[in-house]
Subunit: 311 residues, 3 copies
Amino acid sequence: MKKYTSLNDIENLSETIQKAIQLKENPYQFAHLGKQKTLVMLFFNASLRTRLSTEKAAKNLGMQVSVLNITNAWSMEFEDGTVMNVNTSEHIKEAAQVISQYADIIAVRAFPTLKDKEKDTAEIVLNSFVKYATVPIVNMESATDHPLQALADAITITEKKTTSKPKVVLSWAPHPKALPHSVPNAFVHLMHRMDVDFVITHPEGYELNPEVTKGFHIEYNQQKAFENADFIYAKNWSSFNEYGKVLNEDSNWMITEEKMGDGKFMHCLPIRRNVVAEDAVLDSNNSLVIEQANNRTFAAQVVLQEILTNL
Amino acid sequence: MKKYTSLNDIENLSETIQKAIQLKENPYQFAHLGKQKTLVMLFFNASLRTRLSTEKAAKNLGMQVSVLNITNAWSMEFEDGTVMNVNTSEHIKEAAQVISQYADIIAVRAFPTLKDKEKDTAEIVLNSFVKYATVPIVNMESATDHPLQALADAITITEKKTTSKPKVVLSWAPHPKALPHSVPNAFVHLMHRMDVDFVITHPEGYELNPEVTKGFHIEYNQQKAFENADFIYAKNWSSFNEYGKVLNEDSNWMITEEKMGDGKFMHCLPIRRNVVAEDAVLDSNNSLVIEQANNRTFAAQVVLQEILTNL
Amino acid sequence: MKKYTSLNDIENLSETIQKAIQLKENPYQFAHLGKQKTLVMLFFNASLRTRLSTEKAAKNLGMQVSVLNITNAWSMEFEDGTVMNVNTSEHIKEAAQVISQYADIIAVRAFPTLKDKEKDTAEIVLNSFVKYATVPIVNMESATDHPLQALADAITITEKKTTSKPKVVLSWAPHPKALPHSVPNAFVHLMHRMDVDFVITHPEGYELNPEVTKGFHIEYNQQKAFENADFIYAKNWSSFNEYGKVLNEDSNWMITEEKMGDGKFMHCLPIRRNVVAEDAVLDSNNSLVIEQANNRTFAAQVVLQEILTNL
């Protein structure tokens, strides 16, 4: 693996999942692979799970880790040819090359603006790092994708499925704030790669980027979508068409125990209780959210391991 | 030791103190005990001494350390059953369980509100971590206690005492800001466990929580309290009765060289010079404040060591 | 080496440069020198290059590293005898001694006020750490100096020079904000120590501290200064005479490809493109800025190594 900016960087997904499951059993078996190698983790946005799990994954592999919080990605210049006499004080060309001097792998988190659809869709921050850095880049959640989360979810579904082709539903759920499309996009990308019966459900107006969901059935009736579901993945996102807008906070879309039936509940966390899903869902034995969080470590570890092997 | 949230978690105090003193002589003797173990340090409030000493203690034991600053504990939800559609975005139930996936021990710092006496006294943040985390919790200063400071003070007194039952005075001192009760409470808890002649002195209205000071003599005359004192522990705190209020900034309560006599001076730091104590006190050979700070490392290390041994 | 607060702490510069160049070839040859030693890095100001390169250097030597961001140096008290009842909450006397309990070496970054010339010139923060700390201090950019940058520049010039006595020009360049004198001062200090033909060029009114530039020719005509230059070091700084003021943003002083001729371009970064220097300069093969950034690691490493050897 030369980089991990999207799930496309994984050639053989089921093989990668199996490697991660083996790592989970013995996380320190490759503790010398990262010796004298440095991971620089750059956060343009706050992080709890991604920060702790990726740091742990790197250290499990024996890597050195530097964590750098940069308050605002947009004080960095991403355009070519700009006269930088206003707000931006460093060009990504220099920044990415410079950080590459101190890192063997660079991991980057940079959320979308949710205001400038074109900029977000172009993944300017992530792609600029890929373009100008001279070391491999790992995506720790970008404007439109979150492939480490998707890989953790792949591990979780593989571990917990009881049929060869489970029914998986991605359901929009209410939330008071405008949230990115990164996690739902990442999950849809994953569904393209797994042998599942996949349905997306959300209120009208909440269609994700059609380039992403192409080929999947969108069912606007949540109840119908949930019938016989093995896994229900809940997530809020803001509108893609009316870009970054909250169109609807209808609590009828909240995930309830009754709606879940025997399905297993998934969510990337953090989750607002009794808004996205009711307490009974999260406190049920059918909730997989802590398992998903745990698998973040092994998703990151298998990715770092694959990249280290190719350095 | 299963956790360290208060001095009560130490069964045999004098034995623990002796272990810490031995660690001080050879800090790396257990450098393999923490191998492949991770300490996650969560700071809801700023830290210098606690941060550096606890991190060093963990690394002396060979642990991996992740430090996470979280700006505001109160954007986390601590109540059960809340509809989280306003300010809080993650419930402690998830947060504590998730962090437990990445940590073998979690250390938490969360100061009091000094506004909501009931909430502070209930130690909601600390106790919620204890309740929901699946790994041991270490208190790096909570709403009402600071047991790592108390243990460092215990080591310092043990090292510096010249009589078998020294006279120890805890004296309130002036300060322009409202400060927590954590350190004085922790010190009083300690005094219950050591063989000392203990007196508390402060202006009227500054009584600490009577549950904490029960059984000890409060002397409102500072001069009388200081007579023949071997150790004088100075600390400001805000009123407990008029919760979180500054009632008095009377500089007559400042600790002076003259008042000290031959007593040894203690303070947890940071200290405002010429407000809490005059320069001559801090610059005297009788000041133990730097020794106390140094002992923070070995207090933390003996605690982590005891917990690691029981994992 | 007992400390590294200025280039004066290097006795034999060319020997130190050669050591750094050897380290670059095999950065891990002294990986056990820093075992069980801790570097505490204190940042009163933001940092990217210095943070990552110094941390990496320390870890290459096997040291433990703690990074502490302290928002504001000026909430620390640096004056003697002050009654600290207003804004400052900890005196440098305690802070420096306390941090010395947890560190074998302390590295400090503290920028100038650019308002109080006397305070800045006196290097109060840095010198207070030197005075009160009980372990060696490393300057990671202070009010008036940046000797780690200077050493990296020394390595770069040594590696890239093609004549025994190259012509080196330090040129002021425009910038919209008031910047410190640390980097230009450090570079001038370096020029005093290297066998070069050195010229300083800037608009009138931008004279650096004459104590620093004493003995060097100042040429107000940039074009004339650049004639036959082997190395052109560009940097903005604010006025020293009209302390901290931006007197001039004349874009005629911007470094262009045409002006450069065959000279090699140097800058400490970050750099505002098309303000300080045009794109063509930075994108040219004659730009050494990434090499300079890379050499920051080995400058820091040779310094830490020399200090560790003397502990």
